[in-house]
Amino acid sequence: MWTWNNLWHWAGHPLSWPGFVGMLVGAVVILLLALLVVMYSIYWQRKFIGWMQWRIGPNRVGPWGLFQTVADVLKLLVKEDVIPANVDRTLFLLAPIFAFVPAFLVLSIIPFSAHHVFTANIGIGALFYVAISAITIHGVMLGGWSSNNKWALIGGMRSAAQMLSYEVPLGMSIVGVVLMAGTLNLNGIIAAQMHTVWYVIPQILGFIVFVIAGTAEMNRTPFDLPDAESELVGGYHVEYSGFRFAFFMLTEYVYLLAMGGLMATLFFGGWAGPFLPGWLWFAIKIFIFFTFQFWLQATLPRIRQDQMMSFSWKLLLPLALANLVITAVVKVLV
């Protein structure tokens, strides 16, 4: 039986007050960590894209502009919370929360490191990610609808259609890995990879599908249709300002972190790696994923929405299914 359970000191024991406090502290630590990562991933995004565009990126706030994003976040937090007159008030206020709670919820299953990290070691981790991240669609969609703005409505609808249709190939590409590892538990998947090669090699087809579908799921270039600046002037969050807008942005970047974590876990052996400590390996893998996303963002134009849909259903899904069949056949034969 799987024994990593013993590492999480409250797992497998009845709930006690110290355990509860530990959970709470762990949640806060992860939250703060996520915020920090989000801030500096935005900083890195601006720097990296700036360098590729012959610019120097943020350079005014702090040394090398290191506090630029901090300043931006502070600005967003102290900004007036504008609620336009004709919005559906309740939903307008709730939508950012719907979007952002699942984003943090999925972080709970990402195994950031082998030890000392508060990860829910649940048996259905991979499926949990796909399921919970689906709730975010509600936030995005309701945000777009309740704004009572036509651009926001189109953005919200696009987003819902996109996330819904890319969830399927995303899930299918994960199934390939699950088949190989024989478990849905993310820790189990890492452990299974420690015995063999990283799954990116045998699952290369699934990996490609995963990266494309994951990019689409996060609404990033070239699938940034929901908030297409040049078409929809910002899409679903066009009416939002202040910290509610910050919530939407936070959602986007926390998903970037979570998707990076998931990718590292499923295809690159998670925290496993020689010499360096586990959390550092994990950070390096996520960092590479971030950089790759920003690189795409700097290079590619935006795909059109009908092409986006047919790309998912007519190309990615068959590919993912083919990958699944091949994996199953190989697994049975070998």
Binding site: M52, Q53, K150, T221, V233, L300
Partner: protein, 373 residues
């Protein structure tokens, strides 16, 4: 388009969407009232006039030389050509003989300006389609052209450089060498642009077969320039009605065939290369000499009606002068190519998705200063 058939399956509510006048992809203060069903446009109505400054009326109270700075502000991304078009019309009317060096400088600056304008097209078009890096690359090269113009005539956008009878200044020492170095550098940049954008599958999927129209439609709407040539109709005033010294250079008119966004895009890229060719030859042929003809201090156009059109960056840019023999035009009519080119929008926007609306509008490449005059 195929999209309309699919969306017919679901009856959705029609929605009136107001695009602009402050929309990032309308290239200025342009407004379109589009009726959409789902994301498909069923009707589009362009609304113009947000940048109207009454240039034509103002000109009636200005001397010809005073009109020149106003032409800068028509098509503000290719002011040199506007300058030239006006002074060319006046020179034709007066029958002036222009010194050779002045003509060469004019051609070099005009073609460089065309290049700068097409660079803006390249950058903003890709920005419309969601890629932001080409914009910065294009603007960096344009910056170099503008810096050279700044050195030549003292302004970065509104040059006010051409004069009736010649140009305002001779080149500064070393300016022609700068241009030469730029042309060499720009050829390398063009290769980079092709690698970065022209082969990109997403880009190809976005522009191929989008916003196509036929030669008949284009002619019927009075379109000109690249927007006409993309349908395969060979019409370039530099070849068809040669003006200035364009007959001294060896260059081609690139032609499209399908009349879609792809053709318009690729024609812009090819025209940039042709402009580089012309500038290169002009740099070899230019000789020292005067840059200003003998012109009376107060310019008077003989009574009569004169029209002269040149190949502007966006099409036939013409100035129609009605003169009663005084030092001010009785009436100055400007044929602004962007205005004519925009007329086809309601037709080609019918049945396309909202995302393509941006792609089509960008490919027509209007400049609002010129549309509203």
């Amino acid at each position: 388009m195929a999209l309309t058939d699919e969306t017919d399956l679901v009856r959705t509510e029609e929605m009136l969407l107001n695009v602009g006048p402050q929309h990032p992809s309308t290239h200025g203060v342009f407004r379109m009232v589009v009726k959409i069903s789902g994301e498909t446009i069923i009707e589009a109505e362009p609304v113009i006039g947000y940048l109207h400054r009454g240039t034509e009326k103002l000109a009636e109270n200005l001397q010809y030389s005073q009109c020149i700075p106003y032409t800068d502000r028509l098509d503000y991304v290719s002011a040199m050509l506007n300058n030239y078009s006006l002074v060319h019309a006046v020179e034709e009317a007066m029958g002036l003989e222009i010194p050779d060096r002045a003509e060469y400088i004019r051609v070099i600056t005009m073609e460089m300006n065309r290049l700068a304008s097409h660079l803006i097209f390249f950058g903003t078009y890709l920005l419309d389609l969601g890629a932001m890096t080409p914009f910065l690359y294009a603007f960096e090269e344009r910056e170099k052209i503008i810096d050279m113009f700044n050195e030549l005539c003292g302004a970065r956008i509104t040059y006010n450089y051409m004069r009736v009878g010649g140009v305002k200044f001779d080149t500064t020492p070393g300016w022609l060498e700068q241009v030469d170095a730029f042309v060499k550098r720009m050829k390398g940049e063009m290769v980079k642009y092709r690698q970065l954008v022209t082969g990109n599958e997403i880009f190809l999927a976005r522009v191929h077969g989008v916003g196509a129209y036929t030669t008949e439609q284009a002619l019927g709407h009075g379109m000109s320039g690249i927007n006409l040539r993309c349908t395969g109709y060979n019409w370039d005033l530099r070849k068809k009605k040669p003006y200035s010294i364009y007959d001294r250079f060896d260059w081609d008119v690139p032609l499209g065939s399908a009349g879609d966004c792809w053709d318009r895009y690729i024609l812009h890229m090819e025209e940039m290369e042709q402009s580089l060719r012309i500038v290169e030859q002009a740099l070899q042929q230019i000789q020292p000499g005067p840059v200003m003809a003998k012109v009376p201090k107060l310019i008077r156009v003989p009574a009569g009606e004169y029209y002269s059109g040149i190949e502007g960056t966006r099409g036939e840019l013409g100035f129609y002068i009605v003169s009663d023999g005084k030092d001010k035009p009785y009436r100055l009519k400007i044929r602004r190519p962007s205005f004519e080119n925009l007329q086809i929008l309601p037709i080609i926007l019918k049945g396309v998705p909202v995302a393509d609306m941006v792609a089509i509008l960008g490919s027509i490449d209007p400049v609002m200063g010129e549309v509203d005059a």
